[in-house]
């Protein structure tokens, strides 16, 4: 009894530390938001706050190549730290005989992700599971950040575009791994025009994925801001000075909207992003053709050895 207490005590301390590791980054995000939010004048719809900009960086540009660190990046890092704490918390004290709820949760997560991957891509590609888990986790937690009132990294186009670019590279790598010759042949078989169209089609995949995710989350954010400012205006006109100081009518409706736009839409978009990733990757690596070629090559090799 005493021994179990002795062994149990440090683990509880670690647990507390890990929970702090999960919670503190989110708190830090809120604090940063409170500290650095500029005073808003009426309806103010803008992108991420820029915390750091390199010398001579033009922030107002829509497409730019200057080094700037914004709210989106900071919040992403905080989410990553939080997810790391969550992973460590789930896997802390794993035992062969599962007793704790968190171990059940961890196993449930892994098994669900594996079944999702094997259902969409086949058992051959199970190695991609942690990537899908990371993608869904990052997307969901980033979208849920807006529940805390802070800037959701997914409502920044650059962030989702980065993920989509990674998916694009993965698709390219999968195609090349599946068969470089087949890839080149399929690209250039029908003349330069079709090749160019194929190329554009390949490029449109990440663009459409990024715009889909960004558009859904950001439209929710924009509608939230519009509704909130409308309610502020309404409470000011209805209650006068008290309404201006305390926008009473803002209680309620933005929360209900946020349940749809942040929780449901954010989770759905994360799921859809991961599903599209898996489908595109699975389509880029047709397993049956690959196995057929693999078998043929092996047979040819065997035949060559036999003739030698």
């Amino acid at each position: 009894m005493t021994e179990t207490k002795k062994t149990g005590k440090p683990s509880r301390v670690i647990d507390v530390l890990l929970i702090l590791m999960m919670v503190l980054p989110l708190l830090a995000a809120v604090v940063l938001k409170v500290l650095y939010t500029p005073e808003s004048k009426g309806v103010d719809i803008h992108g991420a706050l820029v915390y750091y900009a390199a010398e001579g960086a033009d922030i107002s540009q829509v497409i730019s190549g200057d080094l700037i660190i914004t709210e989106a990046q900071i919040n992403s890092w905080l989410v990553i730290i939080s997810i790391t704490g969550f992973c460590l918390f789930l896997t802390h004290g794993l035992e062969e005989h599962a007793h704790s709820a968190r171990q059940h949760l961890a196993e449930w997560l892994v098994e669900k992700a594996e079944s999702l991957v094997s259902g969409n891509m086949g058992d051959f590609h199970l190695y991609i599971t942690p990537f899908i888990m990371a993608m869904m986790g990052l997307s969901v937690f980033s979208s849920l950040m807006s529940l805390l009132g802070v800037f959701a990294p997914t409502s920044d186009l650059s962030v989702v575009f980065g993920w989509a670019v990674l998916v694009f590279f993965l698709i390219l790598i999968a195609k090349i791994c599946c068969g470089p010759k087949v890839f080149v042949k399929s690209m250039t078989a029908d003349g330069p025009v079709v090749a160019a169209l194929n190329f554009i089609g390949d490029f449109s995949t990440p663009v459409s994925m990024a715009f889909r995710h960004y558009g859904n989350v950001m439209s929710g954010a924009v509608i939230g801001v519009l509704v909130a400012s409308f309610l502020q205006w309404l409470s000011r006109t209805v209650f006068g000075g008290i309404g201006a100081a305390f926008p009473l009518l803002q209680i309620g409706l933005p929360g209900i909207l946020s349940i749809y736009f942040d929780v449901f839409s954010g989770g759905l978009q994360a799921f859809i992003f991961a599903m599209l990733t898996m489908l595109n990757l699975g389509g880029a690596f047709p397993l049956e053709d690959w196995l057929k070629r693999h078998d043929r090559r092996r047979k040819e090799k065997q035949a060559a050895q036999q003739t030698v």
Binding site: G47, S64, S76, I83, A106, V110, F131, M133, S158
Partner: protein, 171 residues
């Protein structure tokens, strides 16, 4: 504090978020996926081991049962053999006893017969002797003369032999 346009694409931010995803992928794989998979594999191995043990135990039990069944059938055969042997022994013993008793009875009967024969011979001898004496006395008395005893005896013997022969023939 400035803020970006609501829709903006920045190369550095794209690169950073791309790296973020890769880093999170490595973290998830290192801290969530692999430990859980390891534990699942351990449990699978454990369960397999338990199943194997159970199979082994069942196989052993089945072997034991087969051995027992074999031994039981053997025991029955042995019992049958023992019983049959005992019956054989008993029969042999009884045969022996019966034959012994028969032999002894035969012996007794033969002895009795011999004794009877001997007694009869003795009695015949005695009778013969008495008869000879009586006949000699009779003849002496009848003839009044002393006849040669030896002649006489021969005469009587022949007579008795005749008698015997006739009796044998009668029998």
């Amino acid at each position: 504090m400035q803020s970006q346009q609501i829709i903006s694409v920045n190369l550095w931010q794209i690169v950073i978020s791309l790296c973020n995803l890769i880093i999170l992928f490595l973290i998830v794989r290192r801290f969530l996926y692999k430990p859980v998979k390891k534990v699942l594999a351990q449990r699978q191995a454990h369960v397999d081991g338990v199943y194997e043990e159970a199979d082994e135990a069942r196989r052993r039990a089945e072997a034991d049962q087969a051995a027992w069944a074999e031994r039981m059938t053997h025991a029955r055969e042995e019992a049958d053999a023992i019983i049959s042997r005992a019956a054989e022994n008993a029969r042999m013993n009884s045969d022996l006893m019966v034959s012994d008793a028969k032999n002894r009875a035969d012996g007794i009967v033969r002895q009795a017969e011999e004794e009877a024969l001997l007694t009869r011979q003795k009695a015949e001898e005695g009778i013969r002797r008495e008869l000879a004496g009586v006949s000699a006395e009779l003849a002496e008395k009848v003839l009044g003369r002393e006849i040669n005893e030896s002649d006489h005896r021969a005469l009587i013997d022949s007579f008795i032999d005749e008698l015997e022969d006739s009796r044998d023939a009668d029998q």
